[in-house]
């Protein structure tokens, strides 16, 4: 995967899936998510992540709970809701379907 700009739209669309995947593994707070994405194709900043988290929460895919932190104020720890888990599974299936469609479309040499 290249980080070339022409794939920017593709990556942007899939960022939601990437975030849901990170959250699915364990309860995390926003800075953890950024750290997990760091170095991957989905590397991003707070400016993009925070509005995305707020939307996912509004759509009922994520929820958060406050937890005390040893350094500084309490933090929001994000976890998947049942709907979020369902959506992640659905999206992953759909992505597999898309990939296999793309394989068969160009003949069988892909």
């Amino acid at each position: 995967m290249t980080k070339d700009d022409s794939y920017g739209g593709l990556r942007k669309g899939l960022l939601e899936v990437a975030v849901l995947s990170v959250v699915s593994a364990q309860e995390v707070y926003a800075a953890d998510i950024l750290e997990h994405l760091h170095g991957t194709e989905f590397e991003t900043g707070e400016g993009t992540l925070y509005p995305l988290l707020s939307r996912l929460k509004r759509e009922g895919l994520l929820e958060y709970s406050w937890a005390e932190s040893t350094s500084g104020p309490p933090r929001k720890y994000y976890g998947l809701t049942a709907r979020g888990t369902q959506r992640l599974a659905d999206t992953k299936t759909y992505l597999h379907e898309l990939t296999s469609t793309l394989r068969t479309l160009g003949g069988n040499n892909a």
């Binding site: 800075a31 993009t48 509005p51 707020s54 939307r55």
Partner: protein, 365 residues
Amino acid sequence: MRKVTTTNLNGRAYQLEEPAYEKLQTYLGRAEAALTDNPDKAEVMSDIEQAVADKCDRLLTAHKNVVSLEQMTDLLKQMGEVEGTADEAQTAAAGRPKRLFVIHDGAMFMGVCNGLAAYLGLQPNLIRLTFVLLTISTSGVWILVYLVLGLFLPRAETEAELAEAYGKPLTAQGIVARARERAPSAESMERASRLVARVLRIVARIISVASAIGFGLATFSWLWTLWQVVLGRLHLYDQLHIMNGWREWLTITAAYLLVAIPLVLLARLTGRMADNRRQSRLSTVSESSLAVLWGLSIVTLIAFATAYAGNVRDYVQSHAGHLDVGGSHLCVDDSRCDTNGRKSYERPSSPADPQMPGKPTLYNY
């Protein structure tokens, strides 16, 4: 040494250099604008403030308790612009009133047509063509309208002003979209507008070459006329005597500038249109000085005309309707000229000019 200001980020005080504070403030301002339609705006804003605070915490130690401008720039770059959704950007655009600006970015001359095009939502080249046609049909008077607009309309320089000029929201997407629109991209241009642009470029090229040739002819005539003055062939007599010498030179030069400067400007402007080039800062400066020089030449001509109109009238009256320049007699008042015209008319001779008609003579003052 920079001044330091204290600010409150989510309930804790932080010391920032003033430019760093201003930078943060504009960043948060843009974030807020991008989140206008987000129902969780307050929450997201507070999360973002907290993220800035956390990052500042990491930069500060017991021995370093001020966040510098460089650190803030770096920090905000890491965070990235806060993004609204595309829909939000669209709604914001619809409700936003446009303002008329001069837009230098992508301008051919002063950016008046560019600004009008943005305001009316039309192709800049269309407006330019209209202005050229209006200028031709009003024999040049419309240029004044252009100049007045160019001088008095506010100039859109910041991204915020550009957003206002184009009626688009000041979001990261808006800025990217405008940058894309401004970029000369053959693909994004529609076929018809490409054809119009090509025709316009050809027309511009023709006008450019024609005005360059016109300029060359004007310059040649000017030099030739000055040479005639040197040879004494444009000598003036009696009441017009006073016009000889530097006044004659100046009048001829002012008349030359009056014709030549618009030709130069037209050649340059249309040349730029033909090459699809942009106005540079240097050409703005040189063209403005030419415009000033043009104004001066008009003032000079008007001043001379007012000062010497009486002399010309007296001269024509006392020389049977004729005006004498060097060796030629011009009938300028038919009611006074003799029916025999030139034959019965003797060129006047002044005390300092006792010689034959047509013979070059120079007065000494």
